[in-house]
């Protein structure tokens, strides 16, 4: 029974006050994209659009609302893969780029590489006309609070993000 679209908003502990908005976010992303799939849209377009919608939702730790690195900065990774030809594109440790999943798709479509990282990925973004965004625009108060909370010497960021073993 085709088409099908499935999305996730990451695993790990979601504080009670954010649960409803997280659930609403993944449903909205699916609702917004699935009608295009039903209208003969491609699977590739659908997954990129769905991830872009979630990326722009501050209740997920992917883009807007990303978790911060030890220095309080945002470094993002993304990947796409097209099952027709096993084509793929990825970026890692990329900064100040909105919607890195779209940049990952450009890596797949415009280069013969599978992954570009760091400053090289940023240079490629500029060459593709992808606008740079201020890092501050990617950092939410919630992300900053969690970063500060986990700077303490005895903090366990993995456990804080993932929760204890089930």
């Amino acid at each position: 029974m085709l088409p099908v679209l499935v999305v996730h908003g990451g695993v790990g502990i979601i504080p009670k006050e954010r649960v409803q908005l997280s659930c609403a976010g993944v449903q909205a992303a699916v609702r917004g994209v699935y009608s295009k799939l039903q209208g003969q849209g491609s699977a590739m377009d659908a997954v990129v659009e769905a991830v872009t919608l979630l990326w722009n939702d501050p209740h997920f730790s992917a883009g807007l609302g990303s978790v911060l690195n030890a220095k309080g900065e945002v470094e993002m990774d993304a990947i796409v893969m097209d099952g027709r030809y096993l084509a793929s594109g990825a970026v890692s440790a990329v900064r100040k780029v909105a919607n890195p999943v779209q940049l990952a798709r450009l890596v797949m479509d415009k280069t013969s590489h599978l992954c570009l990282t760091g400053e090289g990925a940023s240079q490629f973004a500029r060459s593709m006309g992808v606008p740079e965004v201020p890092e501050e625009s990617l950092i939410t108060e919630y992300a900053r609070m969690r970063w500060k909370k986990n700077l303490a010497a005895d903090a366990n960021p993995v456990e804080c993000q993932m929760g204890k073993m089930g």
């Binding site: 085709l2 999305v7 695993v11 491609s42 470094e75 986990n150 089930g166």
Partner: protein, 134 residues
């Protein structure tokens, strides 16, 4: 991390995953998401996976590709995901979650952590959940 898998009306399959990484990670630390076969994999002949969870554990077991290997050996999307997540938990002690789809439109959402926000659409039905077993 956020991710998606899809199979369209023509039976073409794709996946996408994007992440800000792990809380307070070392500068330059790259997790599973950008690694093909780990943070995502899609093959029209088998299916597509978008995982999330402890990146180092996902990379050690190449979780996305491992699930598709199980499906190539005939497991259902659910059994393949469960077997791979159990192996990751048992072998390297890592928690994670996946969304999986196959070319026939069978799909599954599985996770070994306590929560994962997810949603799926097929025909006129929207499915969604957050806790194990929903």
């Amino acid at each position: 991390t956020v991710g998606a898998v899809a199979v369209d009306a023509e039976g073409n399959i794709a996946c996408a995953t994007s992440t800000g990484g792990m809380l307070n990670k070392m500068e330059g630390r790259v997790g599973d998401t950008a690694c093909i076969g780990c943070g995502g994999y899609a093959d029209n002949r088998v299916g597509a996976v978008s995982p999330t969870g402890e990146g180092e554990a996902i990379m050690k077991v190449t979780l996305a590709r491992l699930i598709l290997f199980h499906m190539e050996q005939g497991r259902s999307v659910e059994a393949a995901a469960d077997e791979a997540l159990a192996y990751m938990k048992d072998r390297v002690g890592g928690l994670g979650g996946v969304v999986v789809v196959d070319p026939q439109g069978e799909w599954s959402v599985r996770f070994s952590s306590l929560q994962m926000a997810w949603a799926a659409a097929q025909q006129q039905t929207l499915h969604y959940g957050l806790y194990t077993g929903e």
